[in-house]
């Protein structure tokens, strides 16, 4: 380990077989159930999933930000070659803020309502970088300029409630960037914002990522948000990554029927109005009692008996960057066969006069 510099040879983040369970009175919730991926320096990864898919828990679990009561966490998280699993909170603290930082969904609740913005930004600067008050203040002002907040000097003395939602999110970004982290988590950073503001915030995050050569993990339920902003996308379903590919590949040649269904169920501006949307029947799996085989099988139009009993492993396609977990992926003979059956059946239904 010591003779070669891990910074050049290993990826920035390497997660393998990460499991994160919560013990509740109803049973064990398998929020994250065996997730593996790696992230290169400067790369941006989008994690997409519906509510309950475990995407938020995954990001917090990697960062070690979950409380430890009733929590079970297993697997390996290598950051810069260092194993994070098993580090004490005290040891993690030197990584938090400095090496990894996080932006949360709701800028309304993520800033301390009774503390001035200047102090909230200065806090990590003084703690990690050992700055004194006036240095920290100057740096904070510069950070606010970086995130394009007008009149930064005046803002430092304001409280969060005196700012608009978009401004608050910028402050959060400034705090997250303060100590120059190498990895930034953004957990639904624009969900609480209006579309016009969302566009600016996404641009800002991306710009800062490139400027500072940071890696980014962008967690969201909105496929549109990750499409234009990430290098790689991982689709999560039922606590697992079910498909992961470089962004363009994922959109052009997805393999997982779930990814397909997800893409086709989103109304798109370019489609004519009243275009019939594809739907996914049923609801996401109960993570206390997940299905025996593939988590998606009970809702999948292409599922076969095997899918209900056996769990598919992640499979690599011809593109080594593109993996998926499915026995009968989009494009396979079985997929086509079932698709034909389905279209015939719907023809029958429509000619038969049924609704």
């Amino acid at each position: 380990m010591n003779d070669s510099d891990p910074r050049t040879t290993t990826p920035l983040l390497e997660v393998s077989d990460l499991k994160t369970y919560f013990r509740t009175e109803r049973g064990t919730v398998k929020a994250v159930d065996g997730v593996s991926f790696s992230l290169q320096r400067g790369q941006s990864l989008g994690i997409v999933g519906e509510s309950g898919s475990g995407k938020t828990v995954l990001s917090r679990s990697i960062m070690g930000l979950l409380g430890r009561t009733n929590l079970f966490r297993e697997g390996s998280i290598k950051f810069n070659g260092q194993e994070l699993m098993g580090l004490s909170v005290k040891e993690m603290r030197s990584i938090w803020g400095q090496e990894m930082s996080m932006i949360f969904q709701d800028p309304m609740t993520s800033l301390n309502p009774v503390m001035k913005i200047g102090r909230q930004i200065a806090e990590p600067l003084m703690l990690h970088l050992g700055m004194n008050k006036s240095e920290a203040r100057l740096t904070a002002e510069k950070l606010l300029t970086d995130v394009r907040i007008p009149e930064p000097q005046r803002r430092l003395n304001q409280y969060p409630h005196e700012l608009s939602g978009g401004m608050r999110q910028r402050v959060m970004i400034a705090i997250a960037l303060a100590c120059g982290p190498t990895l930034l988590f953004a957990d639904e950073p624009t969900t609480a914002l209006d579309v016009t503001v969302q566009a600016e915030i996404l641009q800002l995050i991306n710009e800062q990522r490139v400027d500072r050569n940071m890696s980014l993990i962008l967690v969201t339920h909105n496929i549109g948000v990750v499409a234009g902003n990430t290098d790689v996308i991982a689709v999560m379903y039922g606590g697992k990554i079910v498909e992961k590919a470089p962004t363009k590949t994922l959109f052009s040649s997805y393999k997982m029927p779930y990814t397909e269904a997800l893409m086709r169920s989103i109304p798109k501006l370019r489609q004519a109005s009243h275009t019939r949307l594809a739907t996914i029947p049923g609801r996401p799996p109960d993570m206390v009692n997940p299905p025996l085989g593939c988590n998606f099988a009970p809702r999948c139009a292409y599922a076969r008996p095997k899918c209900l009993v056996e769990e598919p492993e992640l499979t690599v396609t011809e593109n080594p960057e593109h993996v998926y977990a499915c026995f009968y992926p989009v494009g396979s003979p079985e997929y086509h066969e079932r698709k034909l059956e389905l279209s015939q059946r719907s023809d029958l239904l429509s000619t038969g006069g049924q609704n």
């Binding site: 917090r60 960062m63 930000l65 009561t69 909170v89 993690m92 603290r93 030197s94 990584i95 938090w96 803020g97 400095q98 990894m100 930082s101 996080m102 949360f104 969904q105 709701d106 609740t109 993520s110 800033l111 301390n112 309502p113 009774v114 503390m115 806090e123 990590p124 703690l127 990690h128 409280y159 409630h161 959060m172 705090i175 997250a176 303060a178």
Partner: protein, 309 residues
């Protein structure tokens, strides 16, 4: 608003005292009904004039209010030659105020660290034990707790004097008051602790605490710098509002520990049916309470920048 409230409260108290009660009867006893006896009738007339009972109620109220704000609270009915009510109150009020301040300080001082520790360990065994403790404290009526403490610390251990003597040295009197203050403070501390603990737990679940942790701040910094202050608002309100509860407690506790304060004289005067004293004390307490509530409101807006404009 506060002034309207003060006026309503005082008018209501005055009205209740004079309509529901019969002041004449309280002064003269059975004589008051004896109108056929010319001797009594003359006495009744005399008393009516002396205490303004011949005038209509609103007039009496206005006059009484004027007197009250200038510090004249009338004379005690039942005993001739006693000091005026204001004199009695002036003598006794410092003891009650000492008792209340001491109790409130104790309660706050106990409850804040207690809440911080239990909130940080919410759900663990030590937290559950502490919850049980506060249940026990809350289920103990203050008179019962007073008796218990008196039995243990005064009678069995002899740490605290049994009675309050106005001639005793200051420190000795303070010791007697201290035990009374503890009696009031313990359940109050339990109330405050439970409230602050709940609020702290809520605050600790907020995103900004996660944010503070993600900055790499230490645990104590997260709790004391980030979590305590936003959790203090309802705490302050309740501490303020609970002054009423403490005053109620002081009535009972002063009686048990035989401290001649406002509370014990309220009980005595009710038993003696001495109306001016009851009226003056009830009014004083209600007014103090209203004013405290107003102050709490102001304090609240000073502390919370979101309310400040």
């Amino acid at each position: 608003m506060a002034i309207l409230l003060l006026l309503s409260v005082s008018a209501l108290t005055f009205g209740a005292m004079n309509v529901l009660g019969d002041p004449l009867f309280n002064i003269l006893g059975p004589l008051a009904g004896d109108v056929n006896n010319p001797k009594s009738a003359a006495l009744i007339e005399e008393v009516k004039v002396k205490y303004d009972l011949d005038k209509p109620l609103p007039v009496r109220y206005v006059k009484w209010l004027g007197d009250f704000v200038t510090g004249d609270m009338g004379v005690q009915f039942s005993t001739d030659g006693q000091p005026p009510v204001s004199g009695l109150i002036k003598e006794r009020i410092p003891r009650t105020i000492t008792l209340l301040i001491m109790a409130q300080l104790l309660a706050v001082m106990i409850s804040i660290p207690w809440a911080a520790i239990t909130a940080a360990r919410a759900g663990k065994r030590s937290d559950k034990i502490s919850t049980m403790n506060s249940f026990f404290l809350l289920a103990m009526p203050n008179f019962a707790l007073a008796i218990l403490l008196k039995y243990i610390f005064s009678l069995k251990l002899g740490w605290f004097p049994l009675t309050y003597k106005a001639i005793d040295p200051y420190f000795e009197r303070l010791r007697q008051i201290f035990l009374a203050a503890v009696t009031i403070a313990l359940p109050a501390a339990a109330v405050y602790q439970r409230l602050l603990r709940t609020d702290l737990i809520t605050t600790l679940q907020q995103d900004f605490i996660l944010m503070a942790r993600a900055k790499g701040l230490s645990r104590s910094r997260v709790i004391f710098r980030h979590a305590i202050r936003p959790s203090m608002f309802s705490f302050i309100t309740v501490v303020g509002l609970n002054t009423g509860g403490l005053i109620g407690g002081s009535i009972v506790v002063e009686t048990v520990f035989r401290i001649p304060g406002i509370g014990s004289s309220l009980v005595e005067s009710v038993l003696r049916e001495d109306f001016p004293v009851v009226l003056a004390i009830v009014m004083l307490i209600a007014l103090a309470f209203v004013i405290i509530n107003v102050l709490v409101d102001i304090l609240y807006s000073i502390i919370d920048p979101r309310v400040r404009r």
